[in-house]
């Protein structure tokens, strides 16, 4: 498999180079989509299937839609193809420097098992069987809590770009499709299956690779497809229930973290209750992540009526 790994690394570098330095926006975006598939393979080879799952869902599903939509918009505005293959030297220098530092950091890593034994030792007290979930939602819950807040902040940052300042209107442009066409047909069939897969990934997260982020991304993709197929109107931010869906995950996480203070400290989950608490956080967080990601991909409101 050494040949395979070497070939995979070469392809990743080629795809990355073509995406960054190749001429033409559209080509760059397609190479970025391809790069996502290759990176997912690399994560599996590195024994990190959790990351591979997230990459497959985000890279293959959502970023493609987002970036291709952006290219289409630039082209309609007559502003596409501003990219020349001219290299921006200061940026290249800075990126090269960071790259060299990363290479140095990797090479200077002491060989050894890392933190895995320490996690394995404490795993029974965390309430879950998947060590990655244990780290994300118990041992380093701070990180995950802040990440979920960052996601929300990104969406709030996107909202002021609403056309005409109507940020409470339905997200994105008003999508439409031939009601009995191919696109609508696909949009009628796939989302229920995607919903099942998304919930499955959340359930699986307690035992094996999976979790709120991966599941939420798949659910977001299902929602985006429903809207893009013209079957469901995108939600608007005037609706209190949608706002609740956005903040419920980080909110519950924060509340249970504060409750943990009764047991010794912020975000400290007592072993007996940890499983239930983590499960509750995961489920509600999945919903929030799904709604946040879907609204980000659909884009700021463009003046269509809200739901």
């Amino acid at each position: 498999m050494a040949v395979f790994d070497l070939a995979l690394c070469t392809l990743i570098l080629l795809a990355a180079l073509a995406a960054v330095a190749g001429p033409g926006l559209f080509r760059a975006v397609v190479f970025f989509v391809v790069y996502g598939v290759l990176i997912a393979l690399a994560w599996v080879r590195l024994g990190a299937p959790d990351v591979a799952l997230a990459e497959a869902a985000i890279g293959a599903g959502l970023t493609g839609v987002l970036l291709l939509g952006a290219v289409g918009r630039l082209s309609r505005a007559g502003a596409d193809e501003p990219l020349t293959s001219r290299i921006d030297w200061p940026v290249a220098l800075a990126a090269g420097l960071v790259g060299a530092m990363l290479v140095w950091a990797v090479l200077s890593l002491a060989p050894g098992p890392g933190l895995a034994p320490a996690v394995a030792e404490i795993l029974p007290q965390t309430g879950v069987e998947n060590p990655v979930t244990a780290v994300l939602l118990n041992l380093r819950a701070w990180d995950t809590l802040l990440e979920s807040v960052v996601l929300l902040a990104a969406l709030i940052g996107l909202w002021p770009l609403a056309r005409g300042g109507a940020w409470q209107a339905a997200a994105g442009p008003v999508h439409h499709a031939l009601p009995d066409g191919v696109l609508a047909g696909f949009g009628r069939l796939l989302p229920p299956v995607a919903l099942l897969v998304g919930v499955y990934l959340v359930w699986a997260g307690a035992y094996q690779p999976g979790g709120a982020f991966q599941g939420g991304t798949v659910l977001a993709a299902a929602g985006v497809l429903c809207v893009m197929a013209g079957l469901v109107r995108a939600p608007g931010m005037a609706a209190p229930l949608w706002r609740l869906a956005l903040v419920a995950g980080p909110g519950l996480f924060l509340a249970l973290g504060v409750a943990g203070m009764a047991f010794g400290g912020f975000l400290l989950f007592p072993t007996a209750l940890a499983k239930g608490m983590i499960l509750a956080i995961e489920m509600v967080l999945t919903l929030s992540i799904a709604v946040t990601l879907a609204l980000m991909v659909l884009g700021p409101p463009e003046g269509g009526g809200a739901q």
Binding site: L178, P179, D180, G181, V182, A184, G185, F186, G187, R188, L189, P191, P192, V193, L195, L196, V197, V199, Y200, W203, A204, C226, L231, V232
Partner: protein
């Protein structure tokens, strides 16, 4: 309405079991997920008639065979020194409505020599690899098969 709900619930339960390998502690999660999937599917695809699931199963071998010969056909052309293509377009009137038409298009795209590009003015637009080959009857036959699946109430 009830038969549609039951059929879909059965189908989604089967998918859930395929996903989880019938793990017993996944059943509660599964019940909720299947209920949500049925609700979503009824909202996206309201039942307009009955779909004959058994007859659909009966069509599977024919579909697999078509898919196999479709793959063999392009593989042969791809490996030959000269692919021998005479590509062109044909348009067909179709009476199929809604999802059935998209299904026919998708199926034709996996069969030998034909590739659908949706509809326009009630005509199915089909790209064929070899305009000299007889595909008219094959397309008509697929249309009849798909039409036999649904039964409008």
């Amino acid at each position: 309405m009830l038969p549609a709900i039951l059929k879909r619930a059965g189908l989604f339960s089967a998918i859930w079991i395929m996903l989880t390998g019938a793990a017993p502690d996944a059943l509660a999660f599964g019940a909720a997920a299947v209920a949500a999937a049925v609700w979503l599917s009824l909202r996206l695809l309201p039942p307009v008639g009955t779909v004959r699931l058994l007859r659909m199963l009966a069509l599977v071998p024919g579909f697999l065979w078509g898919s196999l010969s479709g793959g063999l056909d392009v593989a042969r052309r791809a490996f030959r020194p000269r692919p021998g293509l005479r590509p062109g377009w044909v348009t067909f009137p179709t009476r199929l409505g809604g999802g059935a038409r998209a299904a026919l298009g998708g199926e034709l795209s996996l069969m030998p020599g034909t590739l659908a590009a949706g509809c326009s003015d009630g005509r199915l637009i089909v790209h064929v690899l070899d305009t000299g080959a007889g595909f008219d009857q094959a397309i008509a036959q697929e249309e009849r098969r798909i039409a036999s699946l649904s039964h409008r109430a």
